[in-house]
Symmetry: C2
């Protein structure tokens, strides 16, 4: 076995328990067979490892199987911004298509495993399987809508609103994956949350403390228990124009 972090055996979507999340495509038997062959390999990453980095030639999309990733954009003058957190069933790498190279870094925030989806193969198959074509378009459109909602958050919300929205979004996504609606373990640091939300880490920390003081949640380091989700909803929806 030349490289223990790659496996090409029995790599197939057909019997993957994440299929409903990452490839929810209605199709006939033949088509499903094509789709099952989308994946070229799986790959394991250690915490802190880069899945891809900006400037790197683009050739694959990646589906997260296990673990947790962040994507980070870096500007020419060294600023950087976390643009997303990605968990099981989500697809990363779409940024690379336009210039045939990645425009951000994708970093594993804990030990992780991903499926490699060669873009060329995906494009080929989606020409033959309309349902896959639709799915790919929707993936990209969803990313656009999500990013525009982040622009709304970053452009118009105050610190506590941002953090509340962030937490609600996280638990909602975790809930879809069968985890608790109220309890979660943050996979990222205060600084990473801050970068994502356009805040400094101290501000994030203070907001956590404030929410805890107000009895909205319990916070012990990265362990968070949401006691009053409606309070969070109210915070997010309170203000506005």
């Amino acid at each position: 076995m030349p490289c223990p972090n790659f496996s090409t055996l029995k790599v197939n979507c057909s019997n993957c328990n994440l299929r409903d999340l990452c490839m929810p495509v209605e199709a006939d038997i033949d088509e499903l067979e094509s789709i099952a062959g989308l994946i070229s390999a799986r790959r394991k990453l250690k915490r802190g490892e880069l899945l891809y980095s900006h400037g790197e030639p683009f050739s694959n999309l990646y589906a997260v199987r296990t673990g947790f990733f962040k994507t980070v954009v870096t500007s020419s003058d060294g600023r950087d911004q976390v643009t997303g957190f990605h968990m099981a069933g989500e697809i990363v790498g779409l940024d690379g298509i336009v210039d045939d190279q990645h425009s951000c870094d994708a970093v594993a925030l804990e030990d992780a495993e991903i499926c490699v989806l060669p873009y060329a193969r995906m494009a080929d198959i989606s020409r033959k399987v309309p349902a896959l074509q639709t799915h790919v378009h929707k993936l990209m459109s969803r990313e656009i809508v999500r990013d525009q909602n982040m622009m709304l958050l970053l452009g118009s919300m105050r610190a506590e609103e941002r953090l509340a929205a962030f937490l609600l979004n996280l638990v909602q996504r975790l809930h879809v994956r069968g985890l608790s609606q109220s309890e979660l373990v943050l996979r990222m640091t205060r600084e990473e949350i801050g970068s994502y939300l356009g805040l400094k880490l101290e501000t994030v920390s203070r907001m956590f403390s404030r929410f805890a003081d107000e009895g909205i949640m319990e916070v012990r380091q990265r362990h968070v228990r949401i006691i009053d989700p409606e309070a969070l909803e109210r915070i997010v929806n309170q203000s506005g124009a």
Copy 2:
């Protein structure tokens, strides 16, 4: 003529002077013919008119022919955020694909004309013409990268940096379209610029005044002449981590 704002006569990309901007696709004669048939109609809009609005069923993308648009996301509690400004040759409407309905409003900021690109037709043709498929993917990927760069701007830049970046981006896009690199007429209000940049209109106004004081540009209402573009570059690239 039932509706003077729609025309379906001689609507064809083949001899459109904007083709290089909006459909720069390499293909053989047959394929180009397919692509030329992408457009179903053209439509004229008056200043202030909506091209589409959030919640509206999605069925078309739109290519801007003339005029200038903004797209605006509105949150449930009435906040809104300008997510983009769009000029000749640019495609809008990609947000609508994921949920079969638009998630933002597109508003003409001046009298405008657009080409209607039925999404179903586009999807069909791009299954037969790989170059079009690639083009569509790149369009969407470009939008993702652009939005993520806006997240960087909103999350990490100060007011003067944001405005400088905005102006440089604007003149650069206008320059590609054959207009001056230094002179421009803003099509949007201070408030709209502010919404886009996550600032209040007063802040935008103050920053314009500051740039004018510093001799970087002349500002007379919406007429802007950039005297020292390098100063703007320096402002954008100054800080960082």
